[in-house]
């Protein structure tokens, strides 16, 4: 007995041989393979070593790692010890020094094209990339080198997926999301600041279990977790439809759990699983705890105006305003211009009438 395989992991977690075989035939079916393939899949699962994962950190805040270890099902412990082989992760690994760098080289060689690269944070490109230094070198170089032999890349969180807070205007370091630096590898974006723990482990275990990349939407996010808006499954939705809103913090509506739409909730524009999967083992999620969603899994959510405005600011052409102020302003100007023009028209018409009819006959 050397390597703990999938089958063993599943057995240890109380899954019977019978269920395991059923799982394998289902997998075969869902992969579009005939029933003859089920035993092959079973064989692979019984003997396959754990997939190596290299987890790199760029400009980030480590909230993704912190979220990952909050996973309740599966436990982070089981993911790390039994499901994958987290061979390199700045946050958790024991190794240090050259010995740590050697791991990357080792994995690249031994598992060429077969390891998963997980990226937390993003590379800054200004100052030759030296706003994030890793081993005396720009982080972006490490990222490129490690990505070169990876099978697939997981972009953890808003940083790797979209850029997040350091990429908010004016993005002084030119922090750049992973897919704009690495363009020749399949990238799975798992956005959120951070993503929900069980979504993170869900994506990883899906890939390991079914040996394929989950179906992605046009923006590269797994449809299974990012296919619907928070609004679509929000338990406060009846209050939205009924026109019952929190008007001020801690008002009667807030105490009754009314809709936070007027407090700037971005649930109607945010694709994430918060309102169903919820957070930290299903305890709550932002709206349930009385604060609107700030839209942290959406691209550029930092630059969409205030978190407490429903109609948010537009920053274009050097003016900062929201659609109502801008549009309303233009409409008012148009109205005033029309009135003025009408007045002048009336005057000039009166004059031309006078010209035509001198003496006023």
């Amino acid at each position: 007995m050397s390597i703990e395989t999938f089958y063993e992991v599943m057995r240890r977690q109380g899954i019977s041989r019978r269920s395991f075989m059923k799982f394998c035939s289902l997998t075969a079916a869902s992969l579009g393979l005939g029933p003859a393939f089920a035993p092959r899949i079973a064989h692979a699962m019984e003997t396959k070593p754990r997939t190596p994962v290299i987890w790199l950190h760029g400009l980030e805040c480590t909230c993704c790692s912190e979220s990952f270890i909050r996973s309740a099902h599966p436990l982070a412990k089981d993911v790390v010890l039994s499901m994958l082989s987290l061979d390199y992760d700045d946050t958790l690994m024991a190794a240090a020094g050259f010995q740590a760098e050697a791991i990357i080289e080792d994995i690249k060689k031994k598992y060429k094209g077969n390891y998963i690269l997980a990226v937390e944070g993003n590379p800054p490109l200004n100052e030759d990339g030296m706003f994030c230094i890793h081993g005396g070198r720009p982080f972006v170089e490490i990222l490129r080198e490690t990505a070169a032999d990876a099978k697939a890349i997981i972009s953890w969180g808003a940083c790797a997926s979209w850029g997040c807070v350091q990429a908010a205007k004016p993005n002084p370091t030119r922090a750049t999301p992973v897919h704009k630096v690495i363009t020749d590898k399949p990238i799975i974006k798992v956005p959120g600041c951070p993503p929900i723990a069980e979504v993170m482990t869900g994506v990883v275990t899906y890939m390991l279990t079914f040996d394929r990349i989950p179906e992605l939407d046009r923006q590269g996010r797994p449809k299974m977790f990012y296919g619907q808006r928070i609004h679509d499954k929000c338990y406060r939705r009846p209050h939205f439809d009924g026109g019952q809103f929190v008007e001020h913090w801690d008002d009667e509506g807030a105490r009754r759990g009314y809709c936070l739409y007027k407090m700037g909730c971005k649930g109607p524009t945010t694709y994430n699983a918060c309102s169903t999967t919820r957070w930290n083992g299903g305890v709550s999620f932002p709206i349930q705890s009385g604060h609107g969603c700030i839209g942290c899994s959406e691209e550029g959510f930092w630059d969409k105006g205030g978190f407490y405005n429903r109609v948010t600011d537009i920053k274009a052409f050097g003016v900062e305003s929201n659609a109502d102020r801008l549009g309303g302003g233009v409409a008012a100007v148009a109205g005033a211009a029309v009135a003025a023009h009408a007045a002048v028209s009336a005057l000039s018409r009166a004059r031309s009438n006078n010209d035509k009819n001198p003496g006023g006959n």
Binding site: A96, G136, V165, V283
Partner: protein
């Protein structure tokens, strides 16, 4: 270069060892040291190797949004920047928060302290003390005896430890060691017997399971963790105990959940974390290096205001004050508004000031990046082999209190509490009990081990405070006050055209301050001085070294190619990550690879 500062003799003539990156709170950090012929550190250079520009990004934004931006400075001490930010804005605008909001914030902040300390010790720091591979050689029966002798924690049977050991064995035998690959296993600086190692590894896994329970308090009040939600003027979660719609707010069920988590947290800290520290510390109490500035100059802003809106020292349940030059008899008061007290220098930081000989108070702070390497740098601009500490060498600024470099963090707080037994009798008791159990003198506190022990003591103190703050919340609710937010100044139209404020907290890693200037309802200037800026600061114009650099001074390193001692001491500050490091020999050549034994 050789000179004396703060009682340390700096000499950079010996062999240079580079460790990069040693990660700090948000990510990356680099350390370079010089070793003399006996492998003793004679010069230490700590470098923050990342900059994200949050202060630049915050300009022109709505002050009510600032908490969300600053919260993302760190996902490990998640929430503490947000709390500091809402306090700064409230200070600027003169907003008074309700009692319940203050208490709920306190509970969340204390919750973070406990969680952060626990995760830091077990998952980021323990492997500096605990040899995982040695645990395979342990006798589970003896491990059980050891565990039961130090605590009545129920999960301590021989069978339990055997199961863990078997799992570990299987894991190691798989050949895929995952996060334990290439550790410094077998290094002579590891001193625990196999049984203690097995106990610690077991608790590593237990703590990994349990930590996710602790943060549920954040989830209840703030909706999620990491990065819960906060609110200028109070807390976003409304309380509704017994009226229609109570299920949509903080109600009895939610309060019960909070209470049960607080109880379990307290028990875990009391029965697992603290006993482990005492047990492990017992084997290391002769290794008392790493004191650095801790016995000399240290500071705490204080936190956990008992009454709402009063941030003066007598109202704070975590102590406030600063001690300078080892004069433990004199605790100076701190005024964060005084332009002469807190100042930041950039002589050795990759930033530009109009006049770099002078420090700037954060209200007048400037954050303008300027990446340039000194003449004595080895390597190139994008392939640095060795830094020149005579020039600019870090993305961290150098904050000073009245010109003094100080250490911040749990050790500073616990020592300041210890020095004021009248106001903080519990801290005095806890520290004395721990010292007694370790059979160590007070002076032993000023060391790497002391820093690690102080963190565990503080975890228990914070867990207990969480309990009393919860009781206070209930008492206030009983008295009929259920308000959680003050919206009098929510609308920007009620604000003055110009305002400035300061907010502070004690983050798990130490004193944290945010200074804000508001002009025409927008942020005009925002400066954060974070704990790792204090501890990890590069040198100032006078050549004074910061706490990280000081703590490494005079430490002997058993094996230069396995600088376990450097990591152990740097990690004792809780710079967050048990990091990937890159060690190079003095001429920039990589040292030989060390195989796992």
């Amino acid at each position: 270069m050789a000179y004396e500062t703060q009682g340390f003799k700096i000499d950079n003539s010996g062999k240079r060892v580079v460790v990069d990156p040693v990660c700090r709170i948000e990510g990356h950090m680099r350390v370079e040291v010089n070793l003399d012929s006996h492998n003793v550190i004679t010069n230490a250079v700590s470098t923050g190797t990342m900059w994200r520009g949050l202060e630049v990004i915050l300009k022109g934004r709505d002050p009510r949004d600032a908490w969300a931006f600053t919260e993302r400075i760190c996902g490990v001490c998640t929430g503490t920047h947000a709390l500091t930010s809402v306090r700064a804005v409230e200070d600027a605008l003169g907003i008074q928060i309700p009692e319940n909001a203050n208490t709920i914030r306190n509970i969340m902040q204390l919750n973070l302290q406990v969680h952060d300390h626990l995760v830091h010790f077990y998952h980021l720091h323990a492997l500096d003390w605990v040899d995982v591979v040695s645990a395979l050689a342990a006798d589970p029966k003896k491990t059980s005896t050891l565990a039961q002798s130090i605590s009545d924690w129920p999960m301590s049977s021989p069978g339990y430890f055997r199961d863990v050991q078997n799992r570990l064995k299987k894991f190691v035998e798989s050949g895929q060691l995952g996060p334990f690959t290439n550790g410094y296993w077998g290094n002579p600086a590891y001193k625990l017997p196999p049984e203690a190692n097995l106990m610690a590894v077991t608790h590593y896994l237990e703590a990994l399971d349990f930590q996710k329970e602790i943060v549920k308090v954040h989830t209840i009040f703030g909706g999620k963790n990491p990065h819960p939600n906060w609110l200028v003027g109070g807390v976003p979660c409304a309380i509704n105990l017994d009226q229609v719609g109570a299920v949509g707010a903080i109600n009895m069920e939610r309060l019960n959940l909070v209470k049960s988590i607080i109880d379990r947290t307290q028990e875990f800290v009391e029965k697992v974390y603290l006993p482990d520290i005492i047990a492990i510390g017992g084997f290391y109490k002769d290794w008392l290096y790493g004191g650095g500035l801790s016995g000399k100059s240290f500071m705490s802003y204080g936190d956990v205001p008992q009454k709402a809106n009063d941030y003066t020292a007598p109202n704070l349940l975590l102590p406030r004050g600063v001690v300078i030059n080892g004069d433990l008899g004199r605790i100076h008061e701190i005024d964060l508004r005084d332009p002469e007290q807190v100042q930041e220098f950039v002589t050795h930081s990759w930033y530009k000031y109009p006049d770099e000989a002078r420090g700037l108070h954060p209200w007048d702070g400037v954050t303008e990046p300027d990446f340039a390497l000194g003449a004595n740098t080895k390597g190139t601009r994008t392939r640095i082999e060795q830094l020149d500490e005579g020039a600019k060498y870090s993305w961290i600024k150098s904050p000073r209190w009245r010109g003094n470099a100080v250490e911040v963090g749990p050790l500073s707080r616990m020592v300041l509490g210890y020095l004021q037994p009248k106001q903080y009798p519990e801290i005095r008791d806890m520290v004395e009990r721990a010292l007694h159990q370790l059979d160590a003198p007070v002076g032993a506190l000023f060391s790497t081990l002391g820093r690690t022990a102080a963190r565990a003591i503080e975890a228990l103190y914070a867990a207990n405070l969480q309990q009393t703050q919860f009781d206070k919340l209930i008492a206030n609710l009983k008295a009929g006050d259920s308000s959680t937010a003050n919206i009098d100044k929510w609308e920007p139209s009620t604000w003055p055209s110009e305002a400035k404020g300061v907010g502070f907290t004690e983050a798990p890693r130490g004193a944290l301050g945010h200074w804000i200037r508001i002009k025409d309802t927008r942020i005009d200037n925002y400066q954060c001085v974070v704990p790792t800026t204090w501890n990890g600061s590069p040198r100032d114009p006078k050549g004074q070294i910061g706490a990280f650099e000081a703590s490494l001074m005079n430490t002997p390193v058993a094996k230069a190619d396995q600088p376990l001692e450097i990591l152990r001491t740097i990690h004792s500050f809780d710079p967050c990550l048990a990091c990937s490091t890159h060690v190079m020999s003095p001429d920039g050549q990589e040292l030989t690879q060390v195989k796992v034994r």
